[in-house]
Structures are given as C-alpha cells and as structure tokens.
Amino acid sequence: MLPVLTISKLSKTYGTGFQALKSVDLTINRGEVFALLGPNGAGKTTLIGIVCGIVRATSGTVTVDGHDNVRDYRRARAKIGLVPQELTVDGFITVWDAVSFSRGLFGKKPDPAYLERMLRSLTLWDRKDSKIITLSGGMKRRVLIAKALAHEPEILFLDEPTAGVDVELRREMWTVMEQLKQSGVTIILTTHYIDEAEEMADRVGVINKGEIVLVESKVALMTNLGRKELTLQLGQPLAAIPAALGAHRLQLSDSHTQLIYTYDSENGPAGITALFDDLAAAGIRFSDLSTSERSLEEIFVSVVHDGDTARKRQTA
C-alpha cells in the first residue's frame, strides 16, 4: 500500500523545555484506519498538532501525499481534516453556518448538496438551523466531525472522538467512521478504549513519553491484548502445579495460594471447562475465583517498562 502520510524524525520541545516528541517515525497507508494509543501526556495530540499545522515541529519532516507540510502547506493541509480533542466550537452560530464556514476556509466552492449528505450521515440534518450552543455534548462532537469533513478531506484525524460519549453514540460514530473508510478516507484516531481500536483499526501504534514504542497490525496485537486472567483462590496451598494440569496455561502465585490461568477470547470457554474438569479430577478445590482483563494502560506499561516481558508474551 502507498503511504499517504510520512512522518520522519519528528521532534518537539515545548517552550517550557519539555520534550514531547523524540524523533518519531511513522508511516500511514492510504485508506487505512490507524489507531494511536498511549497514556495521558504521551504526545498524541502534539503529534497530530504538528501534522495539521497547529504546533511547530522542532525538527523533522511531515509529508502529506507528497507535499511537505511546511513548505507546501496549502496542498498538504487541504487534504487533512481535524477533529480536535477538546470540544471547541463557537456556540453562537448555527450548524449550517459552521460547516459552510469550514468549507470556505479550506477554499472549496460551496456545495450545499454535499453538506446536506454529510450532515444527514451524522444525523445532524434536523438540527442544521440550531445554534450550536443548544446542542448536547455528543451532537457538538458530531458538529466538530462535520466541520472537519466539510472540505472533503482525504485524511481525517480524530483526537479521542468518543471521549465522554455514551455507548450508543460511540457505536454510531464507529458506523460513521466505517462509512468514511469505505469512501476511501484515511483515518487516524487516538483513543483510550481498547474495544474502539479493536473495532475500528487496521493497524495500531503505541506512543509513550514521546516515542513510538510499537506499530503492529491489529490482528497481531489483539491476540496479545485480548488476553484475560482467571485467578483461583486455592482452598489449600499447593507446592507446585501438578503434572496433570500441565496442558493448561497456569501459573502458581508466589504465595502458593493462587492459581492464575491466562486465556484469550478464542480458547476461552472450552479451555475453562477443560481446566475445571482437570482441577476436579486432581482433587484441587478453590474457595473463590475472579477474572481480570489487562487494561490498555497496563499494556502500555508492560510494552514500555518491561520490554522483555512484552516480547515474551508476544511470542508465547
């Protein structure tokens, strides 16, 4: 696939002396959905800001479909739409005026038919004459998406598009993103929700402390991320895991009082049933059980601070 966006050796040191990006290299393919994950303060918004022309890079280059985003900023920016992280929108104008303004700003000639189709797809058409201040938070976010799409961009940046949005609306937004993808738009989104990345992304990148620490296809990553743990509180401590249970992915806790079973969505139900059968056969009783899922945040931590463990898990 052809890259539509090439970021190379991009660094950013803010006026405070804080280095938010450390020589970031990243390539985005045409037509893909790329999810950029990372804990708070990792540099996601900074990276997007530089590509879009809001933040000045300290060094490095950004090429948008062959156009340098500083030297040839007009052509580079014309291809990009940005939905910012914060709900920043002028509340005193109507939805229609807001999207018309955005389109004009990007130098596109008026096209009411396109704007209508777009507003309908975002279920904002009924509210096109409403002042934005009268809309709910979720609607305002969709107005921001509408503004970003008003000039028919080829690349769309969505900075945490579903933060603070209810479950139903999130699903709606995923549908919208899916439609955009179908129409050939390249989408780069940041998120803190694993299921969002899982649902939407073709590839996932993890950024931490200004460095890209991982870029992988979703499929590869999800087998790793989708792993869950079942913790069994033992009735009596065990000296070691009996050989009869060797077929299961089991670990004995340091205190010898817990058995920890790791599984993923594929081997889940069958694996657990088999495990319980084998436990009963071996005469091992347990007093309590709990399951836990590794959160994205934990994944970041393991990817960054514990690179070895992460690699082991990947190959396991």
């Binding site: 803010y14 006026g15 800001g49 879009c52 022309g53 809001i54 933040v55 000045r56 900023y73 007009r74 052509r75 580079a76 920016r77 014309a78 990009i80 940005l82 910012p84 914060e86 920043t88 929108v89 002028d90 005193f92 104008i93 005026d97 018309s100 303004f101 955005s102 389109r103 004009g104 700003l105 990007f106 130098g107 596109k108 000639k109 503004k147």
Partner: protein, 253 residues
C-alpha cells in the same frame, strides 16, 4: 490567494457584528450624541469659534476619529482574541490559509465595521451642526487608512493579550487618553507652547489634524505630515504582524 477563506473569515466576523448589533452600533452613536450635547451645545455655546469654524462643527472630525480608533481597535482585537480564547483558532491554523489572508479577513471586517460606524456618527453630526466637507476624497482616505491601521494594531493586541483584562488595557489606558489629548476637543494651538511640543509626540494628533483638514481646509500640522504619520503607523503594524506570523508568537506552540 485563498479568496474563499478570506471571504469566509470576513463574513463570519461581519455576522458576529450583526449578532451584537445593539452594542456594535447603537452605543457608539449614543455616546457621540452625548458628546455633542455636552461639548458642542452646552460648553460650545461659550466658545465662539476655533480657527474660523463653529465649535460644534470643529469637534465633529475629532469625535468621528475617536470612535474610529476605539472601534477599529476593539473589533479587531476581540475578533482574533475570541477564537484564541475558546480554542476555535485551531481551525484557522490548520486551514490552507496564509497569514496575509487571515489578516485581510479579520482586519478587513474590523475596518469595515469601524468605517460604517464612523459614517453613521458623521451622519448623526449633520443633525446637530451644519458641516461642509471640503475634501471628500481625502476625508474618505483618512477614514479608511486610519481604520486599517488601528484594526491592524487591534489585531496585534488580540494576539498579545492573554486575558480579557489585557484586551481592555491598551484601548483604555493608551488610546482613549491619546485621543482626548490629541485635539479631539481643541486645536493644539490653543495649548501653551511647551505642551504643543509635547503633543507632537502623540501620533493621534496627526490623524485628527489630517482628518480635520479634509473637512475645513485648516490644520494643526501640515497634511503631508499627517498622511505620512498615518502611513507610518500602518507600516509599523504590518511589520509587527509579519514578525508574529514568522515566529508563530502566541498562535502556535
């Protein structure tokens, strides 16, 4: 040139004006009418003539100029400060528009509004005193040039300001006093000699003087110098704005 972008910004700004029509137009007209009543009618009745012109007529160019300065300044400064304040500036910065286009859009709208208000005030003045404008072309030129200069100045303030307080400070503490002391209500020849000299450091003197000349054909300082001073203010503001965009000052981090 991204003309559509200029037009979009211009229209957006003009629409903002119409949303706040009352405070935009009614209040400057009202306060000017009050000046006429107080200075023109009440006090003016005790002052016979200034440089061969009735006092009521004499203060008209000064009053128009004073509104023009404050209006250009506040419109342009709020115009660019507001999107910075609420964060919508991201859209302008991420759009394929050049700094020049941004400036033309914002400053153009602020200038238009200031000139319209200036003309409305002038029309109001006709209701109070008979005035004959000797050099209409120069009158219009001074009006527009001054509005552009101070809109540019306002644009700079709007970028420099980091709070609403700072936004008010320059108009309040600098421009209003300079306008009052710049000969709005008197000819600087009426001042003691020392003060005449000091006053010449006030740029507003030149603006008002040139503008007044276009009405009555007489002035405190020569018209050429007035025009030169107006253009100098214009050039200075343009330079500062050029530097702002070059360095990204307060617009980009």
């Amino acid at each position: 040139m991204n003309l559509r972008a200029i037009w979009a910004i211009y229209r957006f700004e003009m629409a903002r004006t119409f949303r706040t029509l009352l405070q935009s137009i009614v209040s400057p007209v009202l306060s000017t009418a009050l000046y006429f009543v107080v200075f023109g009618a009440a006090i003016g009745s005790r002052i016979s003539e200034v440089e061969g012109v009735s006092y009521g007529a004499f203060i008209v160019p000064g009053l128009v100029m004073m509104s023009l300065l404050t209006q250009s300044l506040s419109n342009a400064s709020i115009g660019i400060y507001f999107p910075r304040f609420i964060g919508t500036i991201y859209e302008i910065l991420s759009a394929p528009v050049s700094p020049l286009e941004i400036v033309i859009g914002y400053v153009g709208a602020a200038t238009t509004k200031a000139v319209v208000i200036g003309l409305i005030i002038l029309a109001t003045a006709f209701l109070f005193v008979p005035i004959h404008i000797q050099h209409p072309f120069w009158m219009a030129s001074f009006l527009v040039l001054t509005a552009i200069s101070f809109s540019l100045f306002g644009f700079i303030i709007g970028i420099w300001a980091d709070g609403f307080e700072r936004l008010q400070i320059v108009p309040l503490l600098v421009v209003t006093p300079l306008a009052f002391l710049g000969g709005t209500f008197y000819s600087i020849r009426m001042l003691p000699e020392v003060w005449q000299t000091i006053t010449l450091f006030n740029p507003v003197v030149y603006l008002i003087s040139g503008f007044r000349w276009s009405f009555f054909g007489t002035s405190d300082v020569s018209v050429g110098i007035s025009l030169g001073a107006t253009l100098a203010v214009l050039a200075l503001c343009l330079t500062v704005i050029y530097r702002i965009f070059q360095t990204g000052y307060r617009l980009k981090t």
